[in-house]
């Protein structure tokens, strides 16, 4: 009796509410539109983020390029002095600029016949440069296009070459001691006959010219150790992805990096990597995901009742009707990681030990989220079937600085290259990906670093 009453009541309630009619749909829709602005706003935001990221990368790239172009370690650029036509003559005859390894420069004295003032000026310039060089201890190299480069070692060679090789070209020139103690070369004088003996006087110790350059000969500058401004690297990463409620999953990634030297100890490290992150949530689901998850139902109840009320057996329907029971949730994401880190080398001269910190931005090339759930077999309520449902996204969002990077590294030198082991951790500041899951990772990078150039 009670069962019949319950069934009547149940059937009636189902029928009433399945046929329920409400005329306030318009009002409801206008209310919904206040909180559901569709997807119009999302697209422009995505473009804003993409544009910002592209601009940032562009600026970094241009900055690196310009910085690399302007900065040449160990080399000081000196504004070239005005060269006289005789300097050009000497430069062309001696061709010192053809030897780019020449260090320590003086200008070859070239004196016009009958004019002594330029000689004095020139010698003063030579002496002052010699003094400056000694004081500074730095080699001075003039630009080859406007000045002649002569080493102290090569200078004697040049002097000898006057007599030995260039007698033809300088046969009309004579070299005389200058009043200032320098060297005076009188040239292009048809009345003066030059010969080998005169020219060879310039090589004798008694001659002022060798003594003038004697100050330079013992100065052998040790070439400055050239360090590359930018080091490039490729790396492979093995790491574990973690999130609250997820069992840790081992993952792999790879990419390349560029280390830009800012100071002796500090470097700006950036690059691009492709990283895979997989998460497995057993018997739980991330909070942010649960708001969006909608599992299909396998219930016949309510659906058949209004259509065929007489034939519909409510009890049977209740038996087979089922809300799928959540089993587990998998997330698999292939992402592009763009880190911007600062690296501090403890002692770059002696070892390759460093620490590094910064932020990562990026996006996901492919995201796959799989929900696995059980539901009763419709043929038998006691049997369970498992089914999964996967949703995929590509380039759905761009995150900007949402991941904090910490790492330290130690390297083994392989010639000019380095093999580096770099344990790291990535800590999320917010949810990532289209499902906004907050996850991080920790592992080791195996990195191979090599210099890009020695400018």
């Amino acid at each position: 009796m009670e069962d019949q009453f319950d069934e009547d009541l149940r059937s009636h309630i189902r029928k009433v509410f399945d046929d329920y009619d409400d005329a306030s749909a318009d009002e409801g829709w206008s209310l919904l539109r206040k909180t559901f602005p569709a997807k119009e706003k999302r697209r422009p935001m995505a473009w804003v983020w993409w544009s910002a990221a592209a601009l940032l990368l562009l600026f970094i790239g241009i900055g690196l390029w310009r910085y690399e172009g302007n900065y040449k370690p160990g080399i000081t650029r000196v504004k070239p002095a005005k060269s006289s036509k005789h300097e050009d003559l000497m430069a062309s005859s001696a061709k010192p600029a053809q030897n780019p390894k020449i260090q320590g420069t003086v200008k070859t004295p070239v004196i016009e016949p009958g004019t002594k003032k330029p000689v004095k000026d020139f010698m003063a310039a030579v002496n002052s440069k010699a003094v400056n060089r000694e004081q500074s201890g730095n080699p001075v190299v003039l630009p080859p296009e406007k000045s002649s480069l002569v080493t102290t070692a090569a200078h004697n060679e040049i002097a000898n070459s006057y007599a030995a090789k260039n007698t033809d070209s300088i046969k009309n020139m004579s070299i005389q001691p200058a009043a200032s103690g320098g060297t005076q070369i009188a040239g292009v004088n048809p009345n003066i006959q030059s010969n080998k003996s005169q020219a060879s006087k310039a090589d004798t110790p008694k001659h002022p010219r060798p003594s003038m350059f004697a100050d330079n000969t013992p100065v052998k500058q040790k070439p400055a150790e050239k360090k590359p401004l930018i080091r490039l690297g490729v790396y492979a990463a093995t790491y574990v992805s973690y999130a609250e409620g997820s069992s840790n999953q081992g993952n792999l990634g790879a990419g390349f990096t560029a280390d830009l030297r800012i100071t002796k100890n500090l470097k700006l490290v950036s690059g691009v990597g492709v990283l895979h992150n997989s998460l497995n949530f057993n018997n739980s689901i991330p909070t942010t995901v649960s708001q969006n998850v909608v599992l299909p139902t396998y219930s016949y109840a309510g659906y058949l009742a209004p259509a065929t009320p007489s034939a519909f057996n409510v009890k049977d329907a209740a038996n087979v009707a089922s809300l799928p029971a959540f089993k587990n949730y998998d997330a698999s994401m292939y992402g592009i990681d763009i880190p911007i880190n600062l690296r501090y080398d403890f002692n770059p001269q002696k070892n390759n030990l460093y620490i590094m910190a910064g932020f990562s931005s990026g996006t996901y090339i492919n995201e796959a989220y799989t929900y696995k759930y059980n539901y009763p077999d419709l043929s038998s309520p006691s049997l369970q079937q498992t089914q999964d449902q996967t949703s995929r996204r590509s380039f759905d969002s761009f995150y900007f600085g949402k991941v904090v990077n910490f790492a330290f590294g130690f390297g083994y030198p392989l010639g000019r290259n380095n093999l580096i082991l770099e344990p790291f951790i990535k800590y999320p500041l917010d949810g990532l990906g289209s499902q906004n899951i907050r996850f991080g990772s920790g592992g080791v990078n195996l990195k191979f670093n090599f210099p890009s150039s020695y400018k």
Binding site: I13, Y20, Q291
Partner: protein, 186 residues
């Protein structure tokens, strides 16, 4: 046994998958009454029910690409509405786990069961503790079993059975009462 979905409904769902606002509105208005009929049974009042409906439809629009076209859309929508309503009242339901019916109940003649309108039924439900009303709705009307209800509400299966039994007993008591309540509006 499945009801054939109309071509118009398939077209609406297909366009909603593409994010068409126009078709989302059409879907909303087409199923609004059905969704409201579900959410009213789980909500405290009409405003609450409307919020549940709207929250549920937002989930529908966001997740419609996950909807399996081979299954009935109404059943999928029902699941979403029920889950949304339960989620909204979960704290309230847990708080009322130990609350017993302690106030006078209006009663309706048993012979009048078939004449009960939606408002009458809702009024009847209001006389049940929230947890009992929710379990009655889940089990008797929406077809969930006790295991599922226990999982949804975070209560033991045995409690689900007990609360359902009490709810049905209370409804019988209400409907068999000699007194007939005349005011039927909420």
């Amino acid at each position: 046994m499945h009801q054939t979905r109309s071509i118009a409904e398939e077209e609406i769902i297909s366009q909603c998958r593409k994010g068409s606002l126009k078709y989302q509105e059409a879907l909303y208005k087409h199923f609004y009454s059905y969704a409201m009929g579900i959410s009213l049974r789980y909500s405290l009042n009409r405003d609450d029910a409307l919020e549940v409906v709207n929250d549920g439809f937002i989930k529908v629009f966001n997740a419609i690409h996950n909807f399996n076209s081979d299954k009935p859309f109404k059943a999928w929508l029902r699941t979403i509405m029920v889950n949304t309503a339960i989620d909204r009242r979960r704290k309230d339901l847990k708080f009322q786990l130990n609350v017993e019916l302690d106030h006078t109940v209006p009663a309706i003649n048993a012979t009048a069961v078939e004449t009960l309108g939606a408002q009458d039924i809702l009024m009847l439900m209001k006389n049940l503790p929230s947890i009992q009303a929710a379990i009655f709705n889940l089990y008797e009307i929406d077809g969930y079993n006790h295991d599922e209800i226990a999982g949804i509400l975070g209560i033991p299966v045995s409690s689900s059975r007990v609360y359902l039994s009490r709810a049905k007993e209370k409804l019988r008591s209400l409907l068999r009462s000699e007194t007939i309540r005349h005011g039927r509006s909420i």
